[in-house]
């Protein structure tokens, strides 16, 4: 049975309800409908977040790369696999694939490692951000470097946990 069938089933019971019970029943229908949208929305959010992050940070990588320094390689080696695994995990959640939970767990683990290195400003993040502050024309580079490190870690952390939760839920009802 599809979720639409279940909503039809709930609709067929609506005439039994009156007053507040009817309102509660309608809220329940809305909740059941929303639950079906949760996984696609979270997966789409991860895809948008990863692509948006890549688009928003590519200039930082290019600035360091054009300066002739090599610290961008270490930073890319840290972030690219995380982003790729995130895209794969989100795609598997969208497809309701049985490997979705394993992929989401791998994404969460990579994000956790990246987040710790970013927040603590440890290598390879620190040499990369230090290089960027030296070569960029951004007059507030120090502040922006810290914002990038912390905000990226927080955003990726929320995305990874949300994806892991919806993948776990998918696995539970499989």
């Amino acid at each position: 049975m599809t979720r639409r069938d279940w909503l039809r089933a709930m609709r067929s019971e609506l005439d039994e309800t009156h007053g507040l019970a009817r309102v509660a029943w309608l809220l329940g229908m809305a909740w059941v409908g929303a639950l079906g949208l949760l996984a696609p929305l979270v997966a789409a959010g991860v895809i948008v977040g990863v692509l948006g992050g890549a688009f928003g940070n590519n200039e930082v990588f290019f600035e360091v790369q054009r300066s002739g320094r090599s610290s961008w390689i270490g930073a890319l080696a840290l972030t690219a696999p995380t982003a790729l695994v995130g895209l794969v995990a989100a795609g598997l959640v969208l497809a309701r694939h049985r490997a979705a939970f394993a992929a989401a767990a791998a994404f969460a683990a990579l994000v956790a490692v990246s987040a710790v290195l970013s927040v603590t400003n440890s290598p390879p993040v620190r040499p990369f951000m230090d290089d960027w502050q030296q070569v960029t024309s951004d007059t507030h580079a120090a502040d922006h470097a810290q914002e990038r490190r912390v905000n990226s870690a927080i955003g990726a952390g929320f995305a990874a946990v949300a994806l892991l939760l919806v993948a776990r839920r998918q696995r539970a009802v499989r």
Binding site: M1, R3, W6, R8, A9, M10, S12, E13, D15, E16, T17, A24, W25, L27, G28, M29, A30, W31, V32, L35, A172, V173, R174
Partner: protein, 95 residues
């Protein structure tokens, strides 16, 4: 392999097991268990996906969805009543 289930799921299984030969309506189950529809129906959906509950449309002048336990569902309800963990369906057990 077995899986622990929530008190709400146990309540639904127990209610359906009270008279397993009788088809039950969703609203009737909601009233009997005290569960809101937004809680009851996700539970029914999971139980149906696991092969523990059979759901079908009752063909009358006003069609309604009815539910009853499958054989596996009855065994699960009896296990719950005995205080054991809820067994997974055969398909999940070999997965």
């Amino acid at each position: 392999m077995s899986r622990r289930h929530s008190d709400q799921t146990r309540a639904v299984l127990a209610e359906l097991a009270a008279d397993p030969a009788v088809d039950r309506y969703g609203y009737e189950l909601a009233k009997a268990t005290g569960l809101a529809s937004g809680t009851l129906y996700p539970i029914l959906m999971r139980l149906e996906q696991r092969g523990l509950v059979e759901a079908r449309w009752e063909v009358t002048s006003r069609p309604r969805h009815v539910y009853r336990l499958t054989r596996d569902g009855l065994a699960a309800a009896q296990a719950v009543r005995a205080g054991a963990a809820l067994p997974l369906s055969g398909k999940q057990a070999v997965a």
